[in-house]
Amino acid sequence: MALACHLQKFFRRNGIALSVFLLGAVGFWILFMIVLPQLFMVDFSFRANVPPPKWGTPEHHYTLEHYRYMVYGSAGSESSFNVIDLQVFFKTIMAAVFVTIFDAALCYPIAYYLAQVAHGGWARLMVLSLIVPFWVNEILRAFAFRIIFGASGVLNKGLMALGIIDEPYDFIRENFALYAGLGYAFILLMVFPIYNAIESLDKNQIEAARDLGSPWWRIHWRVVIPFAKPGITSGCTMVFMLTAGALAAPQILGGPSSLWFTQIIYQAFNQAGNWSRGSAYAIILLASCIALVLLLMKAFKVRLGEIAR
């Protein structure tokens, strides 16, 4: 009843043509691009893995085997847990957390500088030059890190010329290249939310704190950071989700023996041909990332409404 009333009001306000466009476009987006695909993926992840011609037949029944596989591995294996996948999973989450912390620490001073210290044309130029590297696509950026960190790369050559090391150090195997590349990949998404938050801070508050004798670190700790908390949280959320879900950088920069969880999903789809397991793993990744973000937001007392703007 209420819905019909709302709809009537909506149609009266927008006219028929516009209403149909609005409802059609938003409806298509929400239903066919966002909600239904996710539900179908969830459904698919609970199905037995059978070749495509048998989909929809009784053999394509519901099962928990893919989730069980993630934890316990195949029935015939020696160890009681699926050590490989679990290890990769936790390593991915931990690494994503560290990359996020690194980015936050790196970007906070930059955002502060842009928002409060720099001004005029200089600030504009800096903002513009922040954006430029991010029009170069992710793969080329990762490639640049390969050039730097490779065995005959710039870093090894430089260190060897300086006499610090005398054998090339394998930065790729030790995942240095991967972490540097991942940290680099999403800097922009950390800088801008923090920048937006700090920019709206009244300069007088900082002045007042300084006049009252606060050292610079306490000004940040008690005035700027609490004010910028929503921005920091939203930056961290984005960087964490994107890092945990990154595929290009781990594929290109990962060491030969290390995997990122998305690579396991990719293998399930493209090499093993096991779409159901791939879907199940994708859901595990998505659900744990969301859970972790919500948990941390609770821990830091940030509400979802504050960051979603």
Partner: protein
């Protein structure tokens, strides 16, 4: 006295200011260093992308790039998909933003969470869900594999538009927040239909937002990899071709592509800045006219006659010319010289090895340590840490360093210490 000075420095924040400035400088080095180094490798004639050893300044990799069929086809597909995404995502984003303005207060947070969620969901998940969903739908309709349900272009456009629509919605929201609803009401009061109001009032107001949403959507689509790699099925885009290339065997033509992209980006940024300044200037002038300070507005020059535009164009052409001439004139001579130099070094090595062999024949035990360095070094250069067995320079280097390799071969098995190491390592 000193204490007072120190106090002044600390309170004035001089030290923290210097520290901050240094930090900012380091940050920008981190931001641009990798791209700059990659750009340099695009001009090195060495077949492997590296800065040192520097061989010759050459533009040959740009030609290699142009002749790369797979890349050119990927580029074409990427542009087509980008256009499709713009056509789909911008109207959806617009509708989403208009809807947000009108929707019931209580439903709004839920609605917002749902439509903004694709930005946070990993691209991999979006790609998989799109693929699975349309596949199942295709089965439901009993559609054959040649129908659009299984078409890589269709799937990729839909998959990418899922989150790119949310980007463009954000652009529209920030513009709509400055829209005065009274304008719309006035138009309706004056007898315009809703469609007329939309077309004559709202759309002109949103024009800049539409332009920036379109640019953003195109670029986001153009550089997307995570979603595309699942939805593209049997087709290819620039990013999937690049990913394949970077993983298996690389040469500096990829750096050359990055140089082109950066150059185009810089050009775009510069032009954008000029246009923006022009608009600001025009707005200031209009204000002056409105206040009656100036009688008439100065006639606007065409964009191309703007001095700044001229400067940008000049810099661009000069850069292009420099690269062309420096990269094509005298490169062959330089390469010949480098080759000659390499040959000389190789011969030198052979000579030394021969000498060593003579010594070793005389006193085998004493020579053990000295013969070794040549062998691991040659090996390391070949592998270059990239494991790029397909990189053409491997072949070349092997051919060029043929004589020394032949010379070392007889020793490698016996004297090279790393063999001993690996053997003892295996023993443990």
């Amino acid at each position: 006295m000193m204490a007072a000075l120190r106090d002044a420095v600390v309170r004035g924040g001089l030290l923290t200011r210097i520290g901050l400035a240094l930090f900012v400088a380091c940050f920008f080095v981190y931001l641009f260093g990798p791209l700059a180094l990659m750009g340099i490798t695009a001009f090195n004639s060495s077949a492997f992308p590296r800065v040192s050893p520097w061989e010759c300044f050459s533009a040959e990799w740009f030609a290699v790039l142009r002749n790369d069929q797979a890349l050119v086809e990927g580029l074409r597909n990427s542009v087509l998909i980008g256009i499709g995404v713009v056509a789909l995502a911008v109207p959806i984003g617009l509708a989403g933003a208009l809807m947000l303005m009108q929707i019931n207060r209580r439903v709004r947070p839920w609605y917002y969470t749902v439509v903004i969620s694709p930005i946070l969901v990993p691209g991999v998940v979006l790609g998989i869900s799109t693929l699975v969903f349309w596949d199942r739908i295709g089965i439901m309709f009993n559609a054959g594999h040649e129908t659009f349900f299984y078409n890589g272009f269709f799937l990729t456009i839909i998959g990418q538009a899922t989150f790119i629509s949310a980007y463009s919605m954000l652009v529209f929201i920030s513009r709509l927040q400055r829209f005065d609803p009274a304008l719309e009401e006035a138009a309706l009061d004056l007898g315009a239909t809703q469609v007329q109001t939309f077309r004559k009032v709202l759309l002109p107001f949103l024009k800049p937002a539409i332009a920036s949403a379109a640019v953003l959507a195109f670029l986001a689509s153009f550089e997307n990899y995570n979603t595309t790699v699942f939805t593209i099925v049997s087709e290819s885009t620039l990013t999937t071709v690049l990913a394949g290339k970077v993983r298996y065997g690389i040469n500096p033509s990829i750096s050359a592509l990055a140089v082109i992209i950066v150059a185009v980006t810089l050009l775009g940024a510069a032009v954008f800045e000029v246009v923006k300044r022009r608009e600001q200037k025009a707005a200031r002038e209009a204000e002056k006219v409105a206040r009656g300070e100036v009688q008439t507005r100065a006639r606007r020059k065409p964009l191309l006659l703007e001095p700044a535009m001229f400067l940008i164009l000049a810099v661009f052409v000069a850069g292009l010319g420099t690269v062309y001439f420096a990269g094509t004139v005298g490169v062959e001579e330089c390469k010949a010289a480098v080759k000659e130099e390499k040959r000389r070094v190789a011969q030198e090595r052979v000579r030394k090895l021969q000498q060593q062999r003579m010594f070793q024949r005389a006193a085998p035990v004493a020579g053990e340590g000295e013969a070794a360095p040549a062998a691991p070094k040659a090996q390391r250069e070949d592998s270059s840490g990239f494991g790029s067995i397909f990189a053409p320079q491997n072949l070349k280097e092997q051919v060029e360093s043929g004589p020394p390799a032949a010379g070392t071969e007889s020793f490698q098995g016996i004297f090279a210490p790393e063999n001993l190491e690996s053997q003892s390592g295996a023993g443990q």
